[in-house]
Symmetry: C2
Subunit: 225 residues, 2 copies
């Protein structure tokens, strides 16, 4: 079954690759740092972006394209604080693809933005196969999910530029084993920067903001790469 499924989806993935390349050229031309934000459902993607937009937008204007199967809850949450956000509802599709993102960016507009977040459908498997033209991938793992998730969903974590451990404020309540989680992340995704933060309390968010400023070139051309 494994092999057949891969064969069926290959033409879809090839078409997606060329559309992702077009997105990438467009984002580069617009001077946008684009971050594909991925995780399980409920790991805190929207909560982190709410806080990020509130804290950063004055200095580093950010927009969001957000995907869900149904509801525009997340776009409403993100725009409630004055942020720019556009919702994609995928229906029964388990991931965003480059074409969906291109259409959403047409609606959002890129004028004035420095950072664009693409909040993917909550899913640790399928969205990993779809390049959206992003400059970086951030994979979130909440302290509630179990320390072995990088081992169980290795392809997603291997594709990450940054792994963000979220909800650290409740680590004690859930019996989170920090050493085991960090060892598993390091083992599967040695290429990734690792951050630990709580969007609720703000602990640890400054490293994430530094990452975004550097990625967007807001630190100046010398250390933008």
């Amino acid at each position: 079954m494994v092999r057949r499924t891969v064969d069926v989806s290959r033409p879809v993935l090839e078409r997606n690759e060329s559309l992702a390349d077009a997105n990438r050229r467009r984002f580069r031309a617009a001077g946008l740092f684009v971050v594909n934000v991925l995780s399980s459902p409920g790991s805190g993607k929207t909560a982190l972006l709410e806080r990020t937009l509130a804290d950063l937008s004055a200095d580093l204007p950010c927009g969001v394209v957000v995907g869900d199967l149904a509801t525009d809850n997340d776009a409403r949450r993100l725009t409630a604080g004055g942020g720019r956000a556009v919702q994609i509802t995928t229906g029964d599709v388990c991931h965003l693809d480059a074409a969906m993102v291109a259409q959403a960016v047409d609606r959002l507009g890129t004028e004035g933005l420095r950072v664009l977040f693409i909040e993917n459908v909550g899913n640790l498997v399928c969205p990993g196969s779809y390049d959206l033209g992003e400059g970086a991938r951030a994979v979130l793992l909440s302290v509630t999910e179990g320390e072995d998730k990088p081992l169980k969903y290795p392809a997603m974590f291997k594709s990450a530029d940054v792994v963000i451990v979220t909800k650290t404020d409740i680590a004690g309540a859930v019996g989170y084993d920090r050493a085991a989680a960090l060892a598993n992340i390091q083992g599967v995704a040695p290429q990734a920067a690792v951050m630990e933060l709580s969007a609720r309390t703000g602990a640890g968010v400054s490293a994430w903001y530094d990452y975004l400023r550097t990625g967007s070139g807001a630190r100046g051309p010398d250390d933008a790469r």
Copy 2:
């Protein structure tokens, strides 16, 4: 994109349906109550099954077929307490299908079992489309994931026979809004029985055990249906 993706997968789903029907006949002939257990990664499927096997197996022998992309961690956790479990590793496939389950049940054997759990890949989207021949679907939602998940992943919740809210022992720590969550479950999945429990403390597990005893006919033929 939505329509094409559906078209591509239709032959796969049709083939799966006929294999699922064969599984269902086999399970019925073996007198097995089969429960497909579905949720996001990290909602507590394995923890609930660990406790269930420990508490019930003497009276109601249970086996588990468990799916993950990688690792046999879950089968090892489940067999550590003396349970019968077989691991399926799917590689890059985001769901279990009926053929994978049939092969795993060949390895597990059904002699002496009354209940078979199929712990699916952690994913609130794709596994919902694949009938495995189960008698019931249990969809788990942990208190940490956000009360709007039934609205965002409606197809999965609409297919549930029972929705189980897990990790209730940390509801206070994560600011869980019980009324909102239950209203969303009821709104999307009015057909489902709803249970709230903590596999860690054991609070609420008796309703789940009653459900399994009834489903398996262990309460006698009068109230088995």
